[in-house]
């Protein structure tokens, strides 16, 4: 019988630890499928973040370096400068990338560092139990904004793609979502393009993936997908912010 669907080779045979309904698993798989399709597993080095995906080095089959909170782009810079012909990617959440690691991501992008960042935005801190993130929506309730995020107290959410796309060194910037099959496919295409941009040595590439956190949002997995679509996408519009016509 012909095999029509199997685990990507770039993903180890290990059970994921994520909460039910969390979309990290989907995003991991997409990254692994892209690595398989581009046949680059042997020359790829990933950088693991802090937060829920801290141990994704246990899942990806390529060489992986675990980084301190927010520092993945700096760690990836060090790796890439040593191995300029390898693919280097970071996988980071919104607390990691848009709060403690803002300087690192901005400057890696500004330098046009030839790395790819997979930025998973679920509008909340997951691992530390649901605190407000820089990406938390106005009005959204979290453990540290129990009365809802108020701009006059907490400030406004950061739109990372819009911000980074103003930088010359960032050559491919796209925001996608994984709330339905159509968008999952678009996310995979975006991740693939981001890796190809890296290979073409054109500059920094990032794919922001809107993701769910049923546990900390306090919504069941199915309603979480709906919540993402109805609440996150209006504030975080999907699409290519930079590099739409980039030839790779």
């Amino acid at each position: 019988m012909a095999i029509v669907f199997e685990r990507p080779h770039a993903l180890k045979e290990k059970e994921l630890h994520y909460c039910p309904g969390c979309t990290h698993g989907i995003i991991h798989r997409l990254v692994a499928e892209v690595i398989d399709e581009l046949d680059i597993e042997g020359i790829t080095i990933g950088v693991s973040p802090v937060g829920c995906a801290y141990n994704n080095y246990e899942y990806f089959n390529c060489d992986m370096v675990q980084a301190a909170h927010g520092r993945a782009p700096a760690v990836a810079t060090g790796i890439k400068r040593v191995h300029p012909d390898n693919y280097v990617f970071t996988y980071q959440g919104d607390g990691d990338l848009a709060a403690i690691g803002t300087a690192e991501i901005v400057h890696a992008a500004a330098r046009g560092e030839k790395i790819t960042t997979i930025f998973v935005n679920n509008a909340i801190y997951g691992m530390t139990s649901g605190q407000m993130a820089p990406t938390t929506l106005v009005g959204q309730v979290t453990t540290t904004s129990p009365y809802g995020r108020k701009p006059e107290i907490h400030g406004f959410p950061i739109n990372v793609c819009e911000m980074l796309s103003t930088l010359e060194g960032a050559v491919y910037v796209e925001r996608t979502s994984v709330h339905d099959v159509k968008n999952i496919k678009k996310t995979k295409a975006a991740i693939k393009k981001a890796f190809q941009v890296q290979n073409a040595k054109k500059g920094f590439s990032i794919v922001e993936v809107l993701s769910t956190c049923p546990t900390n949002w306090g919504i069941n997995p199915v309603d979480s997908l709906k919540w993402l679509e109805e609440n996150m996408i209006p504030h975080y519009p999907l699409g290519v912010f930079k590099g739409k016509d980039l030839e790779v």
């Binding site: 020359i43 675990q66 980084a67 520092r71 700096a74 060090g78 790796i79 400068r81 040593v82 390898n86």
Partner: protein, 352 residues
Amino acid sequence: MAEKLLMKGNEVIAEAALRAGCRHYFGYPITPQTEIAHYMAKVMPKVNGTFLQAESEVAAINMVYGAAAAGARVMTSSSSPGVSLKQEGISYIAGAELPAVLVNIVRCGPGLGGIQAAQCDYFQACKGGGHGDYKNIVLAPSSVQELYELTVEAFNLADKYRMLVIILGDGMLGQMMEAVEFKDKEEIYQDDKKWACTGTKMQRESNDITSIYIQPEVLEGLNNKLQAKYRQIEQNEVLVETYNCEDADIIVTAYGTVARIIKNVIKMADKEGIKVGLIRPITLYPFPTAAFEKYAETPKAFLSVELSAGQMVEDVRLAINGKCPVHFYGRTGGVIPSQLEVLNEIKKILNK
């Protein structure tokens, strides 16, 4: 033939790193060590290496972490407030067991302090600095020649033990010009770095470099392994200079540039019939405890002279273990004690 040149301390550090095979440097400007970065910026492109001015010290040390994880000989340099910012990365480097070299050309603090020479970062360098139970090898050169030799040694020790090695100098040493004799070829410690993240090339299992271990017993295992490594270093890697200690009336202990002042004090004291010995730790960690134990009962007293409010003196007291009185004399804020000042202190202690 060996080459002898007149060079500035900071530039010698950079040149020594290059000769030791370092091809990756990440840093952020801060006085009084910036000539290291200037030198690297000029030379690295010519040897197909990397000089990168990071956006912060925090980023720089994490770039070092990445490059070390990728298997490179890598260095960063900074001065006291900058090294404080690097402490996060330093702890991670210890936890992930990565080889790298950090140069701290110490200035006076606390806070922004000033840019003059000081030794007020001894605790930070030798006792941890960042979070967690860890050590770094700390080398304290006292001449430009030693800056060269110990910088090369730092890279070898880093690779040998897969850990961070700190070169602890001060502004005086970094800015000083002296003759330095380079070797034709350095002896480089060879490590195949099979653990490094270089891409599997589909020929081996993937390598993971991490410092996070959620299971308590597993993390305790890492800590036990690190502590065993430190005990090994304490056995094998101690460097110390002892001078004039046999039959000394008093043994002065000092490291780095301060030890040079003491050597002149010894000559002055000799003319007055006072016999002063010197124990100069070259490795601050591992601390040369045995040298102190050896002479613990010889003199009437020990005197630790430091550009701090008293930091190394604690290790001296531990090493002497009550067998002899230990005194301290220090100046802070960038003030350098004069030879006469130290001699008067010695006389005071000896009641002469």
